[in-house]
């Protein structure tokens, strides 16, 4: 028997193929039943009879015992050699040499540093702008208590993200060409198993560092310890998710666990507020604790490394596919695609119950019902709605945040997150427009109908968020009315953002502090947020003035109607684009005359 595996041209057949039985193998055939054409249910008979059905005449001869022949294979290379072979080709042929690598590294470090410094500046400015904590007993939770809740939320978000992404995966070419090799799979997966914990550590360090140095105003060695501890905890969380994956935990379950922790964060903050728990300052981790955390991370990494070979290919393929989709979405600044990747990753492939869709009595109601089902079935978006509704409420409750500016920022941030959660139906429709086209509805009406579910969800959201604002401003009825009146603006913005065209990367570049950005991309990305900013101007004024006047209420009503009209439009270009196009058309006609 040859060790050459598959037969080459010189040896197209014969016993030296690395196969099983030779040409004299018996005529044992596949047979689900004892005769052709019979029912297979419950009758998987292993037939050893000669082929009694019409088949190729050149099959193996019958008679011998059907045994698997010895299988001789030469030495297989170590997994590391496979990885290096592939990587070396990439680095040699696509210009990814050491110089290019260092260049990329330089730009990445500079970009991250600029981003961190900008965020740090904003956080410290906010810190300076925040009023000092009132002396004596606080009426609401302290800033430190809120930071605790934020930390819990960040941990939940990290676990949820790690669960949706795998965290260990092998997609695309790696899945096709590596996973089938009879080499030690651990060696193939080792870099992938370290990538996400490292990214998690970086994100944890940056975010917690910003919270500590910015919001809490810490400095010096304390920040270093906090940042290190945060990085280690974040890495440990991702590694734990990886161990869960290796143990066979479904990605959906890990994502759900993270979502629950995320929901628990604002709930915890509210419970602490109600219970009157106060934290004057957060203790910084000591160096020994940081050391212990480092040891834990190393131990978890080693444990995960030992279990890498236990992760089935199907899991690796699924995770790799989601990660590839998510990375592609991030690189192309396509938040819709990113949302789809992360949502689909935690979706069950089948439902236990079929929605009866009783409310679907016509084209319009069918469309609204479909949107409702999509939202109802997406746990991530429901979590987003709940958490974001509690953000303004917490801002109103924290003495150091309850300035008009602080509350306004919380309202804008929370509202935008909530709004994004409600547009899932429209985003799905934009991705597969064929269903909309099947309905006897014109495009404008489809857009308006797509606003119904987001508007309903945002009304519920507003009852919580604006109710808190009313409590803060001592005008609950006024703010509640304002919230209900303004809800369609959020809904319209959600639909407008969902139906935005793909980013245009061909436009001129615009210089920004974070580097050059294509203006075509910015023009697309602003669709949706522009309506929020302009359509809710009366709300912003009411919050800043801490009161709702009848005049502003009427103006908001007018803004809402205008926003709905704008968001019903099916034109994709900006006003300036349309004006330029009209001008060109006029010029062309004049020239023709």
């Amino acid at each position: 028997m040859s060790r050459d595996g598959g037969p080459g041209r010189a040896d197209p057949r014969g016993t030296d193929r690395s196969g099983t039985a030779g040409p004299d193998a018996p005529d044992v055939d596949a047979a689900g039943a004892d005769a052709a054409g019979s029912d297979v249910e419950g009758a998987a008979a292993e037939s050893t009879a000669p082929d009694d059905g019409p088949g190729p005449a050149d099959g193996p001869d019958p008679g011998d015992e059907p045994v698997v022949r010895p299988f001789e294979v030469g030495e297989v290379p170590p997994a590391r050699a496979i990885r290096r072979y592939t990587a070396q080709a990439g680095s040699t042929r696509v210009g990814a040499g050491l110089g290019a690598l260092l260049g990329d590294l330089y730009y990445a470090v500079i970009s991250v540093a600029i981003g961190v410094l900008i965020a740090l500046g904003v956080a410290q400015s906010l810190r300076v702008a925040l009023p000092p904590a009132p002396p004596g007993a606080l009426e609401g939770p302290s800033l430190a208590a809120i930071v605790v809740a934020i930390l819990v939320g960040l941990a939940g978000a990290l676990v949820s993200l790690a669960g949706r992404l795998g965290p260990i995966g092998a997609g695309g070419a790696e899945a096709t060409w590596w996973l089938g090799l009879p080499v030690d799979r651990r060696g193939l997966l080792r870099p992938a198993s370290r990538r996400l914990p490292a990214l998690g550590a970086l994100a944890g360090a940056v975010l917690v560092g910003l919270l500590d140095a910015g919001l809490l105003g810490a400095s010096g060695e304390r920040v270093v310890r906090v940042v290190l501890a945060a990085a280690l905890v974040a890495a440990a969380l991702v590694l734990l998710a990886g161990l869960g994956q290796a143990a066979g935990a479904p990605r959906r379950r890990l994502a759900l666990l993270g979502d629950l922790v995320l929901v628990a964060a604002p709930v915890l903050a509210i419970v602490l507020t109600v219970a009157g728990w106060q934290v004057a300052a957060l203790p910084a981790p000591s160096w020994p604790l940081v050391l212990v955390l480092a040891v834990v991370v190393v131990a978890l990494a080693a444990a995960l490394d030992r279990r890498l070979g236990a992760i089935p290919a199907r899991t690796l393929r699924e995770s790799g596919s989601v990660a590839s989709q998510a990375v592609g979405a991030v690189v192309s600044l396509d938040s819709r695609e990113l949302g789809r990747a992360l949502t689909d990753a935690a979706m069950p492939s089948a439902r236990r119950r079929t929605a009866r869709l009783r409310t679907a009595r016509g084209a319009a109601s069918a469309l609204v019902t479909a949107d409702l089902v999509v939202l109802r079935r997406s746990a991530r978006h429901l979590v987003q709605l709940v958490v974001s509704a509690l953000v303004p409420a917490l801002a109103c409750a924290v003495p150091q945040l309850d300035s008009p500016v602080g509350v306004l920022l919380a309202l804008v941030g929370g509202g935008y997150v909530a709004m994004s959660a409600t547009g899932e139906g429209a985003r799905r429709a934009e991705m597969a427009p064929v269903l909309d086209r099947l309905l006897p509805l014109d495009a404008r009406r489809v857009r308006r109908l797509r606003m119904v579910v987001p508007a309903a969800a945002m009304v519920l959201w507003s009852l919580v968020a604006f109710g808190a604002l009313g409590w803060w401003a001592s005008d609950v009825p006024g703010f509640l009315v304002l919230g209900v009146v303004s809800a369609p603006v959020w809904a319209g913005a959600a639909v407008r953002a969902s139906y935005r065209p793909a980013p245009d990367w061909g436009g001129p570049l615009v210089s920004t502090p974070a580097g050059a950005l294509p203006s075509g991309v910015l023009a697309v990305l602003r669709r949706g947020p522009d309506v929020v900013v302009l359509g809710l101007l009366p709300v912003w004024i009411c919050v800043l003035l801490r009161t709702v006047s009848p005049t502003l209420l009427v103006v908001q009503l007018a803004c809402t109607l205008l926003a709905v009209l704008v968001c019903s439009s099916i034109r994709t270009g900006s006003f300036m684009d349309r004006a330029l196009a009209a001008q060109e058309e006029t010029g062309t006609k004049a020239g023709a005359r």
Binding site: G5, R17, A25, D29, G32, A44, V76, Q88, P182
Partner: protein, 274 residues
């Protein structure tokens, strides 16, 4: 390991993307690297069927996509799965090669429950599904070489050259995947399954994107596979391929799966009922 591709050959370009590599091919070393090892052969002498499926139920999220199927496949034989689009043929194949957890029933390969995490399983089972992903920087020849060396094939480059010729890819040996047509990429995948040792070949509609000549050549290759004692499990819509290669067929359907003779299955395909 040494990389012999330090020179940049003259290349055709397509929008900045190199389509062909004209430098020296890279070499994947074994000796000297830690971890190189010889595969154990734990299956020699096993007399059970290569594949045994008993009341195998497959689906997604607990929802079956077809009726339970049952079949056995012995060394040196070929079994075809037939059925209309969406009937569950590919899903059954995925369960057989361990890419899908069965929703019910039993599926065994070489007398043991399917576990693709087992190195011996991966060494013996070659498959071509609907994957269409390639390393952008590896040439056609290097994709095959990587597969052959990864499976411990000695004289890998000679085997690769033979298969490139057989699959009409010699002219594209140094082409990068971006330069290949859909049919050429399909041929590359099929060649990759044949460049390595195997006892069981699992193919999902291998005739797709192949011209008539290549389909005939594939059919001949699968007959050779059987003659050499290899087993073939394939899903197909091609009545000619089925008639030529398969000994039996299983009609995968939503209500009831049935075993058919190859001729009967081919007739059903031709008649549009499978």
């Amino acid at each position: 390991m040494r990389g012999g591709a330090a020179t940049c050959g003259t290349s055709a370009h397509d929008g900045g993307m190199r389509r062909q590599w004209t430098g020296r091919p890279m070499v994947l070393g074994v000796r000297g690297g830690t971890g190189a090892r010889r595969l154990p052969d734990t299956l020699a002498g096993v007399s059970k069927p290569v594949v045994r499926a008993q009341d195998l139920l497959v689906g997604y999220g607990g929802a079956p996509v077809c009726a339970p199927v049952a079949f056995t496949l012995a060394p040196g034989r070929a079994l075809a799965l037939v059925g209309p689009n969406g009937s569950g043929k590919s899903t059954v194949l995925r369960a057989v090669i361990g890419l899908l957890e069965p929703a019910g029933g039993v599926v065994e390969v070489f007398g043991a429950a399917v576990d693709e995490r087992d190195v011996a399983f991966r060494a013996r089972v070659a498959s071509v599904l609907d994957d269409d992903a390639y390393f952008p920087a590896l040439t056609v020849s290097e994709h095959l070489y990587l597969t052959a060396r990864g499976h411990g094939v000695h004289g890998a480059q000679d085997v690769v050259d033979g298969l490139l010729d057989e699959f009409g890819l010699t002219e594209h040996a140094r082409s990068l995947p971006v330069a290949l047509s859909s049919g050429q990429r399909r041929r590359l995948l099929l060649a990759a399954a044949l460049v390595r040792p195997r006892s069981l070949l699992v193919l999902d509609e291998p005739e797709q994107r192949l011209d008539h000549t290549m389909r005939d050549r594939l059919a001949q290759r699968l007959l050779d596979e059987k003659r050499a004692g290899g087993s073939v499990l394939l899903a197909t819509h091609d009545p000619d391929l089925l008639r030529t290669v398969a000994d039996r067929a299983v009609l995968v359907a939503e209500d009831r799966s049935r075993v058919l003779s190859a001729v009967e299955a081919a007739q059903q395909i031709a008649g549009g009922t499978a």
